[in-house]
Amino acid sequence: MANVLDIRRRIRSVKSTRQITKAMKMVSAAKLRRAQERALAARPYAQMLTNVLKSLVTRADCFDPETGEPLHPLLVQREEKNILVIIVTADRGLAGAFNSNIIKSAQRFLESKGGVNIDIECIGRKARDFFRRRFPMETPDGPRSAPVRITGEHPGLLSKPDFATVEEVAEDIIGRYTRSELDAVYVLFNEFKSVIAQRLVVETVLPISQIGERDIRQAEELSQKELERAGEAAAAAGVSLTEPDTAEIDARAAKFGTEQVDYIYEQPPKQLFAALLPKYVSVQLYRSVLESVAAEHAARMTAMDSATNNATDMIDSLTLTMNRARQAAITKEIIEIVSGAAAL
């Protein structure tokens, strides 16, 4: 049986680990709350933009009246020969299965798209680290050496996700789509409505098939067990499980640009439409990033909550072992004394 001193030392070490995981859990919970607020704050803009576009679709002739061909380059559907997949992971690990789930899902998606040229853009260091070991890193306009390649990475975007940075990424993609260098753009990310409502989705960014309708190509729900664990962790950290009530804001946003009146259009509707459509793409990407960040913090909070619980269990069992060892030592000593006395 192990030495009492050794066990005591181990208990001390597990205790300090528990302190760290507990602190990380609280930090993640705080960050999650902030991330959720940010995702929420972005909703009215997205909603309003969608509404204006929807009402413009009917007024701006975005489809050729005779052939039905879309007139805006971002609406054009082409046969998929060159596609771009944007993969959103986290920058850091220690978030349970968060990153590996996304990467696994990404690999499955890449396999399902066999036969076409795929460019990958990584948002988040974990995706970059993983795919860089497998696929070559090339500039988008350079010659292609393999069917799958990485054309971009965006370090630092996740730590401070502001719209301007995301928009730069989006503009780049829009440019390439317009020049027909890409035939489709997908984004793979962890969708996050609340702690217990999240899933991995692959969403079509381009071409835009219908404004206001999300085009989801592949979705994987997190397992029931994972969600339950996340729910428990959230309850323990005091994070609300339900989606905050935004009905009022949403209702206001939903009215934007849809009043039953004849608007004066300062610019021709077509021009407005062309100016707004790229924003729509940016907003979509921005939302993916925000939701992914929230999901990352939720995943880390859950992982750290489990770690804290495990550490507590371990301390309990170690304490038990230690007490037993101590008792055994005492018993041994008594026996020694008694048998020593008996020998006299």
Binding site: Y45, V52, D162
Partner: protein, 138 residues
């Protein structure tokens, strides 16, 4: 007719303002528009510029870069890409951006020129708004 209207400014990041106003000046793509309560319904793109509105005699200024406005008789909603209150503008940063953009314009290159021009306009508006906002505060 009511003598005020609702004003809302929304950016992708947050709701910047929800207030009542008696008058607003908005930089439309085709020039500044003055808006009073009871304006005809209108939708317009915004340029880089300055939004001002008055409420109870106090004027509030914002620097705005690209956006979109919906005007209704009793409500004005602005979707702006970026929108900063005059007091919140970081003057030294705007000045640095201004210098950088001016530098890039000198160097030339067609795409760079266009981008630099936009950056220059943004920085210029920021500086201007910050200056005026500063004066109003005194």
């Amino acid at each position: 007719m009511a003598d005020t209207f609702q004003l809302e400014i929304v950016t992708p990041e947050r709701l910047v303002v929800r207030d009542t106003a008696e008058e607003a000046q908005i930089p439309g793509k085709a020039g500044y528009m003055g808006i009073l309560p009871g304006h005809a319904p209108l939708i317009s793109e915004l340029a880089v510029g300055e939004i001002t509105y008055t409420h109870g005699g106090a004027t509030t200024r914002f620097a705005v870069a690209w956006g979109f406005v919906e005007v209704l008789p009793d409500k004005v909603t602005i979707l702006a890409e970026t929108c900063e209150r005059a007091e919140d503008i970081d003057v030294s940063r705007a000045q640095a951006a201004y210098d950088r953009a001016a530098e890039r314009m000198k160097e030339g290159g067609e795409i760079d020129y266009d981008r630099a021009l936009i950056a220059l306009q943004r920085a210029e508006v920021r500086l201007e708004v910050a200056k005026k906002g500063g004066l109003a505060a005194h």
